[in-house]
Amino acid sequence: MTAVSEQVGAWLAPFTAQPPAAGWIQELREAGFRRFAEMGFPTTHDEDWRFTNVAPIARSKFRVRAADVLRTLPEGVEQLGLDEVRDHLGHCAGFDQNAFVALNTAFLNDQGLATVLRVPRGAVLESPIEITCEVNGGESGVAVNPRTLILVGANAQCSIVETHKGSGRYFTNAVTEIVAGDGAIVDHYKVTLEAPGAYHVGSTEARLGRSANYTTHSISLGGALVRHNVGAVLSEGTEATLNGLYIVNGTQHVDSHTTIDHAKPHGTSHELYKGILDGKASAVFNGRILVRKDAQKTDSKQTNKNLVLSEEAVIDTKPELQILADDVRCTHGATIGQLDAESLFYLQSRGIGKSEARRLLTYAFAQDIVDRIKVPELKDSLERMLVEKFHEHAQ
């Protein structure tokens, strides 16, 4: 047996041990597993995974478990069964090119453990939909494949807070699909607070209707190895905003791969990702923007800013623009910098101690991402977490 088939083989037993699902779901699972088996886990030879080595995940023997997901649903949200969403499931997050999505699909749970929700047409939700996946991995390690599909009806308005946390050793392989109808307003948050020994690979894929307004925030603070794929396909007049904040220390690694697909004309996208790196941590930002031939009058702006607090931290940042239309405006920029010596001196010259001054400036760097969070409870708790975190970093 080759190494690849050995790695894949470890997942075969739990796959076949699942009770079979009804008709098309079982077929989808099998297709997922087949594709996973063909591809195996990616290596750093794959262009998409050049800077992220998932060997620690591929080599591990995890016990596969159903994800323990806590859902808080505001009034007006409908829970659906997996069997009701055949037309949508897997349409945003295709697994043809992504082994992790394929693996997640192979473990689709049809017993109500997958999160399948519908926000009816025109509904305006007063409070956020909260989806919290907590994994207690223990010492030997478990793997979970949480799956979420949210259908937001035309002209509906909602916010979604997805949180990932846990303890011990584990691997969360999450897939979230969001389908937003015409004119829908969706504000999505993915907060990754995984345990220090945890691996997290996630895909958040959105398909957005005409004139829909979609914002997704990816806040990544925890985990040993984290990879986020964030994708959005825009229609005519759609507005999409992708915000990201990653804060890493020690030997943490976080990789954000985003893809904005301007499929139709008059779409607008804004992307701002900020990173704070300390210790021997590393981060990757890869921002792909595709403007299809049809998508005239596209307006797209991408920014990635990194604050590097140590000598040994590493950031790889890369824009990837593919523009096939000719009447568009696309800008992109990336910066990598340290704390500004002049700002530090200014604060110190007013009596503020050096480590406090560093903390203040580090916090200030993240401030504009925090300010974009519209859910007050989330904003407050994040502010508190950041204050604690930067005390560490300032030392």
Binding site: Y346, Q348, R350, G351, E356, L361, Q367, D368
Partner: protein
């Protein structure tokens, strides 16, 4: 004992020696003006006194209130009562002016053995000082110096000084970029802080500011040395005959000079 005693101070930036032996004594209650052409070392002197690490002190001594100033960190100097009004106040997006000033005031107060001010007392103090500087209170909630006009930045410096109540204030070209009205306001703020316990070093290129902040002593700096000292009439003399009258080349006026 003098409040500040600078003895034969030498400082470099990179390989370039900028201060080439400065001697200056400042007593409490005195206002000293330091004048000189661009590049003479005025701003370097101001920044070295505040503890900017960009400059290396290569010789000499500075005794402040009986202590070795050069051994102190910038924050300790501030806590001991030194205040530098920056020539170019730094913009710090993401940190509100209010938060910044409260943190600064409370650390300074703590080191002086005073109680920290609560939000209410802080606000009433700040309001009083803002009135003095004719500043818009909205500036408090804005990030430090971010999006401020040149004049607002300079007012903000003197406002901070009024709040922190230093023992030795160093004003680095506080007049540059100010129109006459702003200059009057800023000078008014400075004059309100003059007192027997407080000393000031006013660094300026032009005599203009010294019409409003009348110094006790004037020193002319050229090529890293004090070449002439006198009373306030020295500033007027410079106004009449320029630095050239003292045989000093003023780089700024030598247009086209490489």
């Amino acid at each position: 004992m003098s409040l500040l005693e600078i003895r034969d101070l030498h400082a470099t930036v990179g390989d370039r020696e900028i201060l080439k032996g400065i001697d200056l004594t400042v007593d409490a209650g005195e206002v000293h003006a330091i004048m000189g052409p661009n590049g003479s070392g005025k701003s370097t002197l101001a920044q070295v006194l505040a503890g900017r690490e960009l400059y290396q002190v290569t010789g000499g001594q500075v005794i402040y209130d009986g202590n070795d100033l050069l051994a102190m960190s910038p924050e300790d100097r501030a806590r001991a009562g030194i205040f530098l009004a920056f020539q170019y106040p730094v913009e710090i997006p993401g940190v509100s002016n209010m938060y910044f000033l409260k943190a600064a005031l409370n650390t300074v107060r703590k080191s002086r053995g005073l109680e920290e001010l609560d939000a209410f007392d802080f606000l009433s103090l700040v309001k009083e000082k803002m009135k003095l500087m004719e500043m818009d209170q909205a500036l408090l909630n804005r990030p430090v110096n971010t999006g401020f006009s040149g004049g607002e930045k300079k007012r903000n410096e003197i406002f901070q000084m009024a709040v922190l109540e230093p023992r030795l204030a160093i004003l680095d070209e506080t007049d540059s970029g100010l129109d006459i009205d702003a200059l009057r306001t800023v000078a008014g703020g400075v004059n309100a802080l003059r007192g027997p316990e407080r000393a000031m070093i006013v660094v300026t290129h032009y005599q203009r500011l010294l019409n409003h902040i009348v110094p006790d002593f004037v020193h002319v700096l050229s090529e890293g040395r004090i070449v002439k000292s006198g009373g306030k009439e020295l500033a007027l003399e410079l106004e009449e005959s320029g630095y050239a009258g003292l045989g000093i080349e003023d780089e700024e006026e030598a247009v086209g000079k490489v």
